[in-house]
Structures are given as C-alpha cells and as structure tokens.
Chain length 224, copies 2
Amino acid sequence: MEGKKILVADDEPDILEIISYNLQLHGYKVITAKDGDQAIQKAKESLPDLIILDIMMPKKNGMEVCKILRSQPEFAGTIIVFLTALNDELSHVKGLEYGADDFISKPISPKVMVSKVNSFFRRISKPELNQVMDLGDIRIVPEEYMVYFKGEPVSLAKKEFELLSYLASKPGRVFLRNEILNRIWGSEVIVGDRTIDVHIRKIRQKLGIDCITTVKGVGYKFEA
Amino acid sequence: MEGKKILVADDEPDILEIISYNLQLHGYKVITAKDGDQAIQKAKESLPDLIILDIMMPKKNGMEVCKILRSQPEFAGTIIVFLTALNDELSHVKGLEYGADDFISKPISPKVMVSKVNSFFRRISKPELNQVMDLGDIRIVPEEYMVYFKGEPVSLAKKEFELLSYLASKPGRVFLRNEILNRIWGSEVIVGDRTIDVHIRKIRQKLGIDCITTVKGVGYKFEA
DNA sequence: TAGGGTATTAACAATTTAGTAATCATGAAT
DNA sequence: ATTCATGATTACTAAATTGTTAATACCCTA
C-alpha cells in the first residue's frame, strides 16, 4: 500500500489540499492537478496507480479525462474513480460507461476517503490466489490442490478445496452464503440449501479441527 | 429494497400516476397525496421510507411540508426529495436548508427516477456498513460480524449485531422504536412491543456494560 | 403514595437455520 | 461392467436464534 502513487484532480484548491494531506498521512504519494488537461499530462508522466477525478473541472471534465486515459493501454490497469455530488445518479451511470471503477461522494469525509482508497488497492492487489497460504497449523497449496494440517497432507475434493481456499483467503471475514454460492458454484447454478453445509462438514471432518465458524443467519468464516 | 414505502405528493394526477406506476413496477409500495396537507397526514399514518414532494402544491407547498416533517423526530431518518423544474437553482438552495436530501428534475424520465430511488435506498441501506467502528472500549467489525469489548471478542447473534451496529452508527443520537423496527425488522414484519427491549437486554448482558441508554417513551441510544 | 404508563427481566414457545446421515446420480478409473 | 470418489439432494434431528408472555420494577404525576 505504501508508496502507491495517486493522482488527484480537482479545481478547488481546498479539496485538493484536504485530500492530498490525508492520503499523504497514510503513506501515499500524491500528485495533484487542477484541471483536465493537467490531469492527463501528469497522469502520463507519473503513471499513478489510482486516479481520482472531479467530474466538474475546467479544460476537460472528469468524464473526458477518463475516456482519454482509458483509451491508452498504459492506463488499462489503473484505477479511476470519480468525485461526484451525493446521489448524482446520472454521473454514476455515465461514469461507468467511460470506464470508472468507483465513485467517492462529496462532501468528502477524509476518513471514508482514505478507507475507500485503501480498499481499492486491496481489491486489485488480490489476484494472487495461487499463493501458498499459511494459517497456523493449516497450509493451503493451490497448485497442488492440497491442504496440510500440521504438515500432514489432507486431500480434499475440488469443491471442498475451493471452498476452504475461498474462506481462508480472508480469515475472520464472514462470507455470506450467497457470496459463497456465487463464487464456488457460479451465479447461474442453483443448488439446494443444504449443499454448502454438507461441504463444510466434509472439510471439518477431514481436517479434524473446526477452523470454520458458523455465523447463523449470515454465513461462514475461517479462523485459524 | 422490496416493500419500501414511498410517499409521492404532487397535484398533477398524471405525474402521480406515472411515478407510482413505475415505482410499483419495481416492487415499491406507493402512497400518494395530492396536496401538502394530505402529504403530511399520510406521511404520519404510513411512515414511509422515502418521500417525494412536488415543490408547487395546493394547501402547503413542498418546502413547508418538508419543514414540518423534519421537525418531527419520527421523520429524522426519512429521505425527503423534491421534484423541481430543471435548473431551478433557488429551490435547490432553499430545499437543502429545509432538510431535503436530493432533487429530481422535471420533466421526469421514469428510468432515471427509478434508478435514483434505488440509489437512495442503496445509500441508506448500508451507510458505510463495512466500516469498522471504534467507540471507546467497543469495536464493531461488520466484516467479521464481531464485536470486541476491550479487545475481547463478543459474539452477538445476527439481530443483536445489527441492532447494535445501527445504534452505534450514530452515537448519542436517539433512535425511535419505530425507526429501529423499520430498519432492523423491515416495515412489513410486525413484532411485539417488547421484542426490541429483549434484544437490547441481550446486548447489554453480553457486552457486560451498559452502552445503550434508554430514553423512556422515545427509544434507545448508544453511548460509549 | 397511588396509579398509569413504560421498561426490564426471566422463563418459555416458536421459528429459523444448521448439522447429519443416508442416498442417488454422474462420470472417471480399474 | 464394476468400483469408486465426488457432489448434490433429501429427510430428519439438533441447536440457536428470535419472539412472546407475564410478572415485576421504575418513574413521573397527581
């Protein structure tokens, strides 16, 4: 997260000030721009990881900037978010068309802003699902489709393995049954109510310990 | 989103018709009023989740209605939006002073209207629900469905957790029993009078300290 | 200090939700 | 063709959650 570059473009110096101050406080490098043209220019020279664009700006508005940047391959992977007025649904719709990743509503709460920014980075830095996961006594090795409990190999079936990996991808976090269904079974497939439970049971059985906690009425979570 | 009650007030039967038809199509329950007085009366008896007010109405105009409703605690959490002529800047400014949450411009596009309404509910239905809340000794982690008291995990049941999160979302603010019912149980469900109390009790018990204060005849509030 | 309204509480009942074991269907491996 | 593992379903059981009741307790006000 540290050292990530963020470009902020807004024509109001105050906003610019507040945003960059708070982001810098959290270890981000901030580049600022005060209009659309400058935003494009600075984006090209600094290649930021995240770009925050105000919708309304002189020279070129946020939408235009976004459109232009998105058309260039070096910004394909860059996160672009808009600053919008609260509930400005129209901008949201258009913004998504132009390739925005998300929106931050004005008025801005620094706290919310920073946590949103953090979550953007968390989101993209995730696709490392093939990483070996070490969680206490449990070790998950995706490329072997294998799980080890205290060094002992435990062989899980595909669905079981995927389910465990998914839950273990964020220990402590509760995954809703719906999320699980979507991720493991896909949104088209419809499976019975008890299917998840049965697979959870198998995992618990095979691992011998209960590393999966039930949150009734909500879902399941992994805990080391 | 389903079953949310929306009160629409406008003196033009056609507009009323279009709006309510489209909203109903999307699963909302619509109540209509054709003037300001009726709007107030119906608002009081049906306690809608969202109120759409035309600015220009007989008896009382939208501003007045808004002002009156806002002055009553049971409408503190209700979303109120105005129907305004496009670019009617003056109404916008005044409207915000009177406590409006947003504006919808005439002429009305049903599509835009519905998507705006949806977004209102999306906003309020989870106002930063994924934010960790730190309140003195108490820490609420929505992602984990967990509450920590002085670092010690306390596991609350779903309803209890939701209730606590709700109250804690605005420490110090009193939540009316009605608001709580609407938010936690939904406007359709009918539960007995003592139900809230019992859940409050459970939370108090489990947390060990009394962070929830009773305001007799009114409701409850969270205090760190 | 008596009484109305309101909240607290504990015990209980109802409901919802998850766990379990047995069973079936499918398809790959022997 | 038979076996076997997987994955899904079912019907049943178990358990936790959630809601109700009814017996107080509390606190204003008269």
